[in-house]
Amino acid sequence: MKKLALILGTSLILTITACGGNSGQTTTTNTGGTPVAQTTGNGVRTAGGDRFNTIKNRGQLICGVSGEVPGFSFVGTDGKYSGIDVDICRAVAAALFDNPDAVEFRNLNAKERFTALQTGEVDILSRNTTWTLSRATSVGLDFAPVVFYDGQAIMVRKSSGIKSLTDLKDKAICVQTGTTTEQNLADQMRKRNITYKPVVFEDVNITFATYAEGRCDAITADRSALVSRGTTLPKPEDNVILEEVISSEPLAPAVAKGDSKWGDTVKWVVYSLLKAEELGINSQNLGQFTNSTDPDVKRFLGTEGNLGEGLGLPNDFAAKVIKHVGNYGEIYDRNLGPKTKLNLARGQNQLWSKGGLLYSPPFR
């Protein structure tokens, strides 16, 4: 009897060690020396086309936003989300479901935003995220076209007498961690050989609040954020944004890498917003264009051709987007334009034909 127990025991141990050995082996083959390009290739195979269908079946888009930046994404007193980042998601939902409200918004902080996208907690990240090489490669993001060209700047109090970066020597600068902002600041100050005292926070509200309380002599963030947040400071007129722009910050929506179908959908919905403005189509005059004879317009609105099919969308997806959300110009004006408290000039965020950087490839 004892023997039997012994045999049983040893065989069990053997199985376990065998399992352990196996898992160890797979671990080494997985991690050891596999080139990044190939692993990304694997990703394409496993996740290809899944996301699009998942969203279609769910009947709702899940969109990761900041929820804390006025003009980009924030919760109004009525509990509804608004802002330019929010409208991008609403446009995608309009293209998918003909319903801009089929979106669930999730607030994400700077730290968790990429993981949330990678792990599929959100379908799309529309959270004033800067398009960078390392994020596109090692972090595994697939960026849609830029929806807002921004640049990092520095805001100081007028009374401080600070005029340029060099005046910031040994001053305290408030900055949010987990953003390109923090590294850009370090780079620029290093280049100029200026020592400074960073006061770093995780939370954007706290970063601005600390500046407002006077703990820091300056605060650095994207220019748009400084403008929009600046309006919420106790005395906005007492602050001034320095002319020097530290870096270029193209802000773009992103999806997880490895699902080109879903990525294409988001990309072309964003392009449709730009194209509509270029063609002069907006939510008000959309009706007048339905009988247009212009082949460009006809293809764009889906009355001719079958452009939507390639994306798995109805052919008139662009018309649906414009009907519900408006073109890029309308979105901009609604959230950041002169009628809003923020009043940001369009500047670089103007169509290429009007001296800006926005450009849509042809819809054909």
Partner: protein, 308 residues
């Protein structure tokens, strides 16, 4: 032979071993599944496990450093700066909170009604509200509520209080450090006060009476007779309060003090290496906890009754 041995399925030793092996097997299975999931997920994200990133340039700046550090240094040096900052707050915090806690604990037993009740109110307020909230309060409502550095509040010409923190004749403590230190000190102090009160209460009444009949003054009775005996009861729970203080110092992240957790969090953010950073953090805190426990256990042995 078979008569005095029960059959296998009635042998409790067999079941013990089999049960343990099953447990081991299940644990191994769970770990294998989790690790393979992790591998697959990381592979999909194009991240490879490894600690090479520690040698890369950190490229972020740290506001408070005790050793030389610049953004061109490596992540490992940045983490070391964080560790030193964490140690700084933990050590000063442990010293201060012991003082506050013992004073408040003794005050709870004072025969002065006012002193007794002030201490009671302190304990009940600080024990029953979250530490995070207290830290936010110290930082925003207290330190950032102080006047600008130009017209600081001066206490006896020695200590200056302003938005720049606490200015002592020798050096200045940043508001982030000061808020964290005071928050941890007063929060933990409230718990220590209760431990001290309980410890002193556990010393039998006869000890007081005997000491008094010897003609000792109350202050001396406390110091020479009661407190050494109370220490034996106090030290074990006191140790866990020290551990709590050290662990709670990670809340520094809420008010912008760059301790190890904060730096690790930034490192994770820039490199995306959740697993490696988490492992490093866990090991660091376990090492800290272990060190404190060892020191306190050694101290505990010296105060225990030596039976002859």
């Amino acid at each position: 032979m078979t008569n005095d041995k029960p059959p296998l399925w009635r042998d409790s030793r067999f079941w013990n071993i089999a049960g343990q092996l099953t447990a081991l097997f299940l644990a191994a299975l769970v770990v294998t599944v989790l690790v393979s999931n992790l591998n697959r997920n990381l592979q999909q994200l194009g991240i490879q496990f490894g600690f090479d990133f520690l040698k890369q340039q950190a490229s972020f700046d740290i506001g408070e450093t005790l050793i030389a550090y610049k953004p061109t240094d490596t992540y490992s040096l940045a983490l070391l700066v964080g560790l030193i900052n964490a140690l700084r707050v933990a050590i000063t915090g442990i010293i201060l909170t012991t003082i506050v806690g013992v004073l408040a604990g003794v005050a709870r037993l004072s025969d002065n009604w006012l002193v007794r009740n002030i201490s009671l109110v302190y304990v009940e307020i600080f024990r029953n509200t979250p530490l995070l909230l207290q830290l936010l309060f110290w930082y925003f409502a207290v330190f950032l509520g102080f006047p600008k550095a130009d017209n600081k509040i001066s206490l006896w010409g020695l200590i200056g209080l302003s938005q720049n923190g606490i200015e002592l004749p020798w050096f200045t403590l940043s508001p982030e450090f000061s808020a964290l230190l005071l928050g941890l000190t007063f929060y933990t102090g409230a718990f220590i006060a209760e431990i001290v009160r309980g410890g002193i209460g556990s010393v039998s009444k006869g000890q007081w009476e005997a000491a008094r009949s010897l003609g000792l003054k109350p202050g001396l009775i406390m110091r020479l007779v009661i407190f050494p005996q109370a220490l034996r009861v106090i030290i074990p729970p006191l140790t866990s309060q020290y551990l709590n203080l050290t662990k709670n110092s990670s809340l520094a992240i809420a008010i912008g003090y760059p301790d190890i957790y904060f730096v690790a969090s930034t490192t994770f953010n820039q490199t995306g290496r959740a697993v490696e950073v988490m492992l490093l953090l866990m090991l660091t805190y376990l090492a800290l906890s272990l060190t404190i426990s060892l020191i306190m256990n050694a101290f505990n042995r010296t105060v225990q009754i030596k039976e002859r």
